[in-house]
């Protein structure tokens, strides 16, 4: 039956799904973009495959619809091969590059980037990196989405409007420089952000040389000016302290969220965890004291935490300094309350015992006096040279501060401003709107460079779209100075320019934009691409740093992602005199009262200073403490909250001086009374669909409006009044307490010493009845007695452990999972409805030592704790994803066999078989299954309820987002269940690679620990271990041997493959109410 199909010439219009998506892609705007660097071809083919995977039901639906037709017609799909072969690229195999991206707060995050046919799809930490190797934070993890953000700024803007070409931008730049070159650059001001790129600093220096009169101003919304000033005085202008927590056994944090948004070293989390392994013996474990006004991940992780108003941190610092024998500032110390005194004293005594192994840290936002006092404390502890290294970085440039610029502009001394700071002047600068008007009045021509069309971009004369770090050449240094080259993975999608390139343009060394790149002429033999100025500049810097431009060294650096032994030079010491000088200036602050509250402004855990506002993954990543998504809110202590009689999300008006904002309020356990914490970075308007609401109004509330100085983090004398309106907040967790269930388990060091296997006896685990059923079923290891068991000898048996003693509850595993597994974003409304899709749910529980009305009362966990108890609550967080139960309740209830067990112990999920009865979701004790309630990948998130009537232009996944998708994971359509699969795509490819190598021999076991899952790769604390249980040498086997190892809900008999390691609190028995710490964990069932 030979039938020849004559496929008709494709008509111009036609039912979309009859055309192969590949052909659609051929019309795609990316054709030429990608085509340039990667001669047109398999990118499209790859695209088509993964794209039509998304549309598989569309096609299926169509062919079903066509029924009879199916047999004689079939959707025409084309294969578009490369015309010329591309170096290294093997179609269908990912290609890995080492590079780095800047951390929002300075420093660098070394990366390994997975690319598929030239599309970067996933980021991971660089395990080879000496200091910052391992995981990454959620900012870095999510930045891959920024690259493909359909709403990132894509073309130059003139007065916020489109329609201006790159050529005119170049002309503007030339004009700007030429106009001022005569007067040695007078009238030109360059605003930069804190940068850790040597090349950038070098070029900035050159600029200064070329235009001596030009003004260089450094501005960041999360400003560290106070810290810099203090450091300059304390250690000298060009010296920076870098803390290496791996050397510390006692850490005292004065509101320093070093595990969260305020890192103090190259990779503080990783370093801190070095001494956190309870199985190595609790005596060698480090101990963390924390004083803070609100819960931070650091405070939640602390062994001893005391809520303390931010205004009193200087007092605490003074106390500590005094206790440790540093500088005495009795004026401050005297004001301290008694219990604070005792608390600090006991802690100080403990610290003293660890000379050279202890360190005191404080938040970078605090005033100079605090830093000075902390410095003396550290001096007294002998931390300098041991825990703290004083280094001389080459990435600090002498620069003015924003007020200088404002003054200059007001004085009419500045005609042109080039803004290269990643912050958004006209949104986050103090008095932003006034500044905007000032620029307008003074006719200052503003050339703005930025990633998104934000406020500054919209009100600048020229806006230059920024290139993503994966799109352009550059270099970076981690906090300790290790040098990394930033290499492009992909031709700039929209021809954006990097900050370095802008500087080069200012120096007249480069023309910006696409015009420069002309499509390679295929007829001619492949000519070497024109040497990129940025590339040249980076090589020049490299030459200086590496001491000579050695090609091999260069290539090695490119390959490994860092330059060996390129740390900063050590040097500098504490200048004691300065300390007294600063400390004497310290002003005495009083504790906040109900009349005069304090407002603490903090960088947001997901948006930082607001620059990530248009990143949907970060917007939807729940805040580690409040579990709030898509918005910020005022955190109030239970006492204040209940005192005002507020409801969750009720609007309050907060007034500081004459400035005031109104925003939604939430109750935050562990928060100090009369203190309000507000996350910065929200309330940006007209930032597109993700960054702001569809009506253009901002998401959340702009707290910058309260600041009158970029260094203000603690505002005192605030008033709060209750408004009637209730604002709808999307909080992912309704239940804050564990209701006495033994879900999360922890104990103090003493208890752990007494009964190492406490975790296995907690709650009902102590008395689980034997399974006396006649058949054992497919569980455990296969033995003669248990013939149906799992084959550990000949097959892989995958398993995972999560060490709660390391998990700090940051959300980077969630984002990593989202990026690896094509998990869709559902939007605020759906999150509110409890339909968030993230496969990993970071449960955060608050616990108090005793429940009930007062301390004396019973242990009944069902009684709601009081405000006082909540203020001193403990916080624990626990990531929960599919536990891959060997005896999985979800499987047996699926009527269509869509989820069954594999011989390797995985709980497999066949999306294309699922009909969506959701029975499995009901029957999962861990609620680990997610359901696609709508076509989240296809429908615009604000028109989900319109179904097929959604606006055609907005329907379907945006082209650029399609490029990000992992081609090895099905993109789910509506109506199917999805869940964590242990990244089965990685496991399969690992197995296949091994078979490729072995071919006709027998050994197919994947090399020990060679395969890593996304969350494990991402975890900065290294809390997650994953591997082959059948392999005795595997790390996961070692960890599972720990006495702390336990299974959640073990009594249900699901036999999860994922197990948890109980947390150990390294409690100092001398501390006040040390007995109460982790006391709740003894009362679990």
């Amino acid at each position: 039956m030979k039938r020849i199909w004559q496929h008709p010439q494709e008509p111009k219009t036609g039912r979309r799904y009859w055309r192969s998506v590949g052909e659609l892609e051929r019309r795609s705007e990316f054709m030429n973009k990608l085509g340039v660097e990667f001669p047109a071809g398999d990118t499209m083919n790859e695209e088509e495959r993964d794209n039509s995977r998304r549309d598989f039901l569309k096609i299926m639906g169509a062919s079903l619809g066509a029924m009879g037709l199916v047999s004689c017609r079939r959707p025409l799909t084309t294969i578009l091969p490369y015309t010329k072969h591309v170096e290294w690229v093997i179609p269908g195999k990912p290609l890995l590059y080492a590079t780095a991206i800047p951390k929002p707060n300075g420093g660098a995050q070394p990366l390994v980037v997975t690319t598929h046919e030239g599309r970067p799809t996933h980021l991971a930490g660089n395990p080879l990196h000496p200091t910052a190797g391992g995981g990454l934070d959620s900012f870095a993890q999510a930045s891959i989405l920024d690259l493909y953000d359909p709403e990132r700024s894509q073309r130059p803007l003139r007065h916020g409007k489109n329609g201006v070409g790159w050529s005119s931008v170049n002309r503007a730049i030339r004009a700007a420089t030429e106009s001022v070159s005569a007067k040695g650059g007078e009238g030109l001001a360059v605003v930069v952000g804190a940068s850790s790129s040597p090349t950038f600093t070098r070029l900035l220096g050159e600029l200064k040389k070329a235009y001596p009169q030009a003004m260089v101003v450094e501005y960041d919304a999360i400003s560290r000016d106070a810290l810099k000033a203090a450091n300059a005085e304390l250690f000298g202008a060009d010296v920076l302290p870098v803390v290496n927590l791996s050397k510390a056994l006692r850490v005292f944090s004065l509101d320093c969220d070093f595990l969260g948004v305020n890192p103090v070293g190259a990779d503080s989390v990783k370093e801190f965890m070095v001494n956190r392994d309870a199985d190595k013996g609790v005596d060698s474990m480090n101990r963390l004291y924390a004083l803070e006004n609100r819960f931070t991940v650091t405070g939640g992780f602390a062994d001893h935490r005391k809520p303390l108003a931010a205004s009193l941190i200087p007092v605490a610092a003074a106390l500590l300094a005094a206790e440790l024998g540093g500088t005495q500032v009795s004026a401050l110390a005297a004001t301290a309350s008694e219990d604070l005194k005792t608390w600090v004293k006991v802690a100080a005594d403990d610290l003293k015992k660890f000379q050279g192994k202890a360190v005191v840290l404080t938040g970078s936002g605090y005033g100079a006096e605090v830093h000075a006092l902390v410095a003396t404390a550290n001096q007294a502890l002998g931390a300098f040279g041991t825990v703290i290294d004083l280094v001389k970085p080459d990435t600090v440039t002498p620069a003015g501060m924003l007020p200088d610029l404002v003054a200059a502009v007001r004085g009419g001394k500045v005609s042109t401003v080039v803004a290269l700071t990643p912050s958004d002047l006209f949104y986050d600068a103090p008095g932003a709107s006034a500044l905007k008007d000032l620029f307008k009045d003074k006719k200052v021509s503003l050339i703005h460079w930025g990633h998104s069309p934000n406020a500054t971009a919209r009100h600048s004369d020229y806006h230059i779209p920024a290139a993503h770090p994966l799109e352009a050449w550059g270099d970076l240094r981690t906090a300790d100075g290790t040098y990394s080259i930033v290499q492009p993975m992909i031709q700039a999608l929209y021809g954006g320019a990097s900050a370095i390139e802008v500087l080069l343009a200012l120096l007249g060394k480069k023309k910006l934009g696409l015009e420069e790149v002309k499509p390679a002429d295929p007829a001619a033999p492949p000519a070497p691409a024109p040497v990129d100025a940025a590339y040249a500049a980076v090589r020049e810097t490299f030459e200086k740093i590496a001491g000579g431009l050695d090609e091999q060294k260069w290539n090695l650096t490119l390959r490994d992602g860092f330059l060996k032994g390129s740390t900063f030079a050590k040097g500098g010491s504490l200048n004691a005199g300065a300390v007294n000088g600063i400390a004497s200036k310290a002003t005495v602050l009083s504790a906040p009262t109900a009349e005069a509250l304090e407002v603490v402004l903090v960088p947001d855990s997901t948006l930082w200073d607001g620059r990530f506002a248009s990143n949907a993954w970060l917007q939807e990543a729940p805040d580690p403490i409040t579990k709030l998504t898509w918005d910020n809110a005022a955190w109030l202590s239970s006492k204040t909250f209940q005192g005002l009689g507020l409801k969750e999300g009720q609007m309050v008006k907060i007034t500081v001086g004459e400035k005031s904002i109104s925003l939604a309020a939430i109750e935050a356990p562990g928060h100090v009374s009369n203190s309000i914490t507000i996350a910065l970075g929200y309330g940006q308007t007209k930032l597109g669909f993700v960054g702001s609401n569809s009506d253009g109004k901002g998401r959340g509330f702009d707290a910058y409006k309260l600041r009158s100085d970029a260094n203000q983090y603690v505002l005192t004398g605030a008033k709060v009044e209750k408004l009637d309106e209730i604002y709808e907040l999307a909080i992912t967790q309704e239940q804050n307490t564990m209701e006495g269930r033994a879900i999360y388990r922890e104990a103090t060091a003493e208890e752990f010493k007494k009964t190492p296997d406490f975790a296995q006896k907690t709650g009902m685990d102590g008395h689980i009845p034997q399974n006396i059923s006649l058949y054992k079923g497919q569980v455990d290891r296969k033995t003669p007695e248990n013939p149906e068991g799992f084959d550990y000898e000949n097959l892989h048996q995958w398993g995972m452990t999560i060490d709660l003693n390391k998990c700090i509850g940051c959300t980077s595993c969630i984002v990593a999972c989202q990026s690896e597994n094509n998990i869709s974003v559902v939007g605020k409304d759906q999150v509110r409805k409890g339909r968030i899709m993230q496969w990993i749910r970071m449960d955060r529980y608050f616990a108090v030592p005793k429940w009930g009305k007062d301390e004396a009362e019973s242990d009944d966990v069902m009684i709601k704790p009081t405000a006082e108890q909540l203020e001193n609550a403990e916080m624990v967080s626990q990531p929960v994803a599919c536990q891959q139960c060997e005896s999985a309740p979800c499987e047996t209830v699926c009527p269509v066999n869509a989820t069954v067990h594999t011989e390797e112990g995985l709980n497999a999920m066949a999306y294309n078989r699922c009909i969506g009865t959701r029975y499995c979701a009901n029957n999962c004790p861990y609620t680990a299954r997610r359901f696609n309630f709508f076509d989240y990948n296809k429908r615009p998130l604000d028109e989900l309820y319109m179904g097929p009537l959604s606006t055609p232009s907005k329907t379907g996944m945006r082209e650029s987002l399609q490029l990000q998708k992992n081609p090895n994971v099905t993109v789910r359509m509506r109506g199917v269940i999805e869940k964590c699969t242990y990244c089965v795509q990685r496991l399969e490819s690992a197995k296949i690679n091994q078979r490729q190598k072995q071919r006709d021999s027998k050994n197919f076991r994947v090399p020990t620990d060679s395969v890593k899952v996304a969350c494990q790769q991402a975890c900065p604390a290294g809390a997650i271990e994953f591997g082959d249980l059948g392999d005795e040498k595997s790390a996961v086997n070692k960890v599972k041997a720990s006495p702390r190892n336990y299974q959640v809900l073990k009594y249900v008999g699901t036999r999860p493959r994922t197990s948890y390691l109980a947390r150990i609190r390294n409690v100092n028995p001398d501390m006040p109410n040390a007995a109460a710490i982790a006391a709740w964990s003894g009362k679990q069932f």
């Binding site: 307490t737 879900i743 069902m862 047996t892 209830v893 959701r918 979701a921 009901n922 359901f931 509506r974």
Partner: protein, 493 residues
Amino acid sequence: MESTATASNSSAAPIQPRVLDREPLVLNNRSYSWITNRICGIIENKQPMLWWILFLPSVVLTGVMAFCFVYLIATGVGVWGQKQPVAWAWDITNFVFWIGIGHAGTLISAILFLTRQKWRTSVNRAAEAMTIFAVMCAGLFPAFHVGRVWMVWFLAPVPNANAIWQNFKSPLLWDVFAVSTYFSVSVVFWFIGLVPDLATLRDRCKPGIKKTLYGIFALGWRGANRHWSHYETAYMLLAALSTPLVLSVHSVVSFDFATSVVPGWHTTIFPPYFVAGAIFGGFAMVLTLMIPCRKIYGLQDLITAKHIDNMAKVILLTGTIVGYAYCMELFIAYYSANYYEGQAFLLRALHGPSVPYYYAMFFCNVIAPQLFWFRWARHSMFWVMVVSMFVNFGMWYERYVIIVTTLEVHMTPGAWRTFQATWVDKVTFLGTFGFFMMNFLLFLRFLPVIAIGEVKGVLPQSNPHHDPHQEKGIQEEDLMDYPDRHVAKTVTA
């Protein structure tokens, strides 16, 4: 028939002590033709105004329901209130509710038939009809609640190119078989019962489309006794088959919950508890429908106070069983010493998000029916109506409590979430009532609401040994307090 026997004695020898009469099943010695006329009259005469007043809204509601399902399928399950961890809510609640109601019919026709309860004859036809329509409503929900309706054929074990099959360990698949079986068997049972009456209708109408249709469905029935003897065997067999079936169906439905691991679902008491509940709710619905019917169509002589009384008693019994189940759940939760089980019920009854539902359920299903301990209540149509209304609501609450409030507080507190229903949830459920009522009204309009043949069969004169030649009139002492006796008086045989 005893009644007539004793009556004849009393007329013969006045001195004998009088044996108390047993209430006749049909009052006023109605003749065969009276019954035929009365029942067929309902179909042949114009429908009362009330019929139209009820019918038109039902049709509208049915349309609305259809719209809701179309919207659901076109847009996604998200239009309902479901969320993690409440993956089932109103959909399955309504399913269990309707399927429960669907149990009374088969029960009346099957179990009462086997137990030789002659009084069933005047209610079984309507009850069976109700069963079928209720099961139709029930079937809609499992069919449409799935995420990908167009893939629902995956549930059918047909050979396919993918060489993949169903999972017969899944209670959901058992459901598919149970419900479809139940529906088909009920239809068969109902139809077989209808044949002789359709013949009656056929023989009464003038030639025309109606006669043709009735004729076709009457299968050319000619009342031959050689047919009757097979027919009765068949009927008995079907009754014998339906009895275990009706018990199995709701047991299987209860397996959906009982075989799961969810605390509050994982309970061995569920099958009997669900079955009792089903009968309970079903009878309530029968009463809700029959009481107006007999009033509107003047069927008091056929559906007598005795019938109502009996059904009220059944409700009282099953209601008490259900109440026992509620208490037993609580007791086991306490006695099992399983913390999670205990919590599930504490949260359900004391401080969970949906406590009010629990007490609403408890009142409607356990407290309200206790009224039926009193004879006056069982005999006052008003109170019977009130109580059955309560039960109808209560049974829906029961399913809601079992399904939603349990899922809201699942095992890991971090995932707890409270459920809110959307307008689609509510309108769809309302729509099914329209669908149900529409079907039932059409049934009233076109089919005999009472099994003519069967009722004739239980008349005293239908006994071959009863001598028709010494017929006696109504005796005053027979006039015990039948509230609706006077209505019967006006009609003459």
